[in-house]
């Protein structure tokens, strides 16, 4: 089930906004498509992210995939747990964020809610 407490991108990332901080991760759909995730190349606190550009690389057994930022800003927190346990993204992608970004720019119109995202996934399949 896609949680309705956050927004989604067309690249299968989720973003949860609180004040001027966006907590971001990948969706269960993305994790499922990637297969067994074996490494997450995390950003570092202080890194700048740009809306629509890669801020993280998720490595599955077979492939490397970029994770795109929904916002422009500065990384203020990263989920270090993924460093030792990248498989957490397979286990529960919605519970495990990748990074939190204090943002200066976000385009909420581009983001989908849970219902829209579910429809988007169906149409893509």
């Amino acid at each position: 089930m896609v949680p309705n407490d956050r927004k989604y991108t067309r690249d299968h990332e989720w973003v949860m906004v609180e004040g001027n901080v966006a907590r971001m991760g990948i969706t269960a759909h993305a994790a499922e498509a990637l297969g067994d995730i074996v490494y997450v190349e995390l950003p570092q606190v202080g890194d700048e992210t740009v809306m629509g550009e890669s801020y993280c690389v998720v490595e599955s057994v077979k492939a490397s995939s970029s994770v795109f930022s929904a916002v422009t800003g500065t990384v203020v927190e990263v989920n270090e747990e993924l460093d030792a346990a990248p498989e957490k993204l397979n286990e529960d992608a919605f519970k495990n964020f990748i990074a939190a970004v204090e943002f200066t720019e976000i385009n909420e119109d581009e983001l989908m809610d849970a219902e829209e995202y579910e429809k988007f996934c169906e149409e893509e399949a």
Binding site: D36, V38, S64
Partner: protein, 358 residues
């Protein structure tokens, strides 16, 4: 996907929920359940792979022995009927046409099992180099090949009602065996670093054989396994993959398959070139943090000296590894890194193979 070639087991892959991909023009599954689960099943119990895309090329005629001796790097003099041998077919410059597994039926009848993507190229090369009384016959479409790999493979065969002799020694094969009424050639070979067999049967019998083995293995921990696990297994066991560790630009000496190159043999295609001092070697690297894949720059003491040929996780060992082609003379205390998207990943040089079964 429609234009892709299908193996006789295509319908089985779909029914098992295989995630289908284009693998060198073939529609094959990359995984069914999870690559890591499938990998571990092979190491601890058993896995069943469809490798019907592999090519089966027969060499028949009075000159078959002499012809193959000239064609490949290994020596087939000591092969008796019922034996298999790994060898490399080279160009005169030493570059590899392909690596092959030779099955001997008699002095006048051999089968070469070749890489799927190379089948057409190999046959062309084999025909170009015909000498004496020999015929090259491509039987690939007639055969299905299943690989049953893992410590419990014998248990699975027996549970499937195997009738016949299981080849006792590695690199031997037996004929006229039956499983579920299907006639099979069975060889004690594989590409996983684990004990096991490969079964060859008529293409039209493949579905029956596959279903019988899956059913028999259900309570033994057998999983259907796909290309993803096949690659992690061979990678972890550091077995070369054509197009990666060996190619027309990476010769078998550089690849380090010395056991399959017999310079005592007076002549074979590529011999002179391969006898030159080797300038490059294949080494193993454990990636201490991060993950590298193929074709990434490899640095020794901060200077780029080579590239990775394969890289990824080693699920049974834990951690990420890479094989790399680097200069033949590298100091023992060299500091190794791999450049991944501009980041220098620290590595430790380790012995090949990464994984060796106990």
């Amino acid at each position: 996907m429609d234009e892709l070639k299908k193996t006789p087991l295509y319908e089985a892959h779909i029914a098992l929920g295989g995630k289908m991909v284009d693998f060198g023009g073939w529609a094959l599954p990359v995984q069914y359940s999870s690559i890591i689960e499938e990998h571990k099943a092979v190491r601890t119990a058993c896995g069943l792979f469809d490798v019907s895309h592999m090519g089966e090329v027969f060499v028949i005629g009075k000159s078959a022995f002499d012809y193959i001796q000239n064609l490949v790097t290994n020596d087939i003099t000591t092969m008796t009927p019922g034996r298999c041998r790994y060898a490399v077919m080279c160009y005169p410059d030493g570059g590899a046409v392909d690596d092959v597994l030779i099955y001997k039926f008699s002095d006048e009848r051999y089968m070469l099992v070749v890489n799927a993507a190379n089948t057409a190229k190999d046959i062309e090369w084999m025909k170009m180099n015909v000498m004496g009384d020999v015929e090259i016959i491509d039987e690939s479409p007639l055969w299905a090949q299943l690989a049953l790999q893992g410590p419990k493979f014998e248990e699975v065969l027996k549970a499937a009602g195997y009738e016949g002799e299981i080849p006792a020694k590695n690199y031997t094969f037996t004929e006229g065996n039956t499983v579920a009424g299907v006639n099979c050639l069975v060889s004690r070979t594989g590409y996983t670093g684990e004990d096991g067999v490969e079964l060859y049967c008529a293409a039209e019998d493949a579905m029956k054989l596959h279903a019988a083995l899956l059913a028999a293995g259900k309570d033994i921990g057998l999983l259907p396994c796909a290309l993803g696990a096949r690659d992690t297994l061979r990678f972890e066991a550091s077995m070369p993959l054509y197009g990666h560790e060996m190619s027309d630009k990476i010769n078998p000496v550089e690849c380090g398959v010395d056991f399959a190159i017999k310079f005592k043999k007076p002549a074979f295609i590529g011999r002179e070139a391969l006898m030159q001092p080797k300038t490059r070697q294949r080494i193993g690297l454990k990636v201490l943090k991060g993950l590298a894949r193929e074709h990434m720059p490899v640095l020794m003491n901060g200077v780029e000296v080579g590239f990775t040929t394969s890289g990824g996780p080693a699920p049974s060992l834990g951690g990420n590894y890479a094989m790399a082609l680097v200069p033949a003379d590298c100091p023992e205390d060299a500091v190794w890194t791999i450049d991944v998207r501009g980041r220098q990943l620290p590595c430790e040089r380790v012995e090949l193979p990464f994984y060796k079964r106990a």
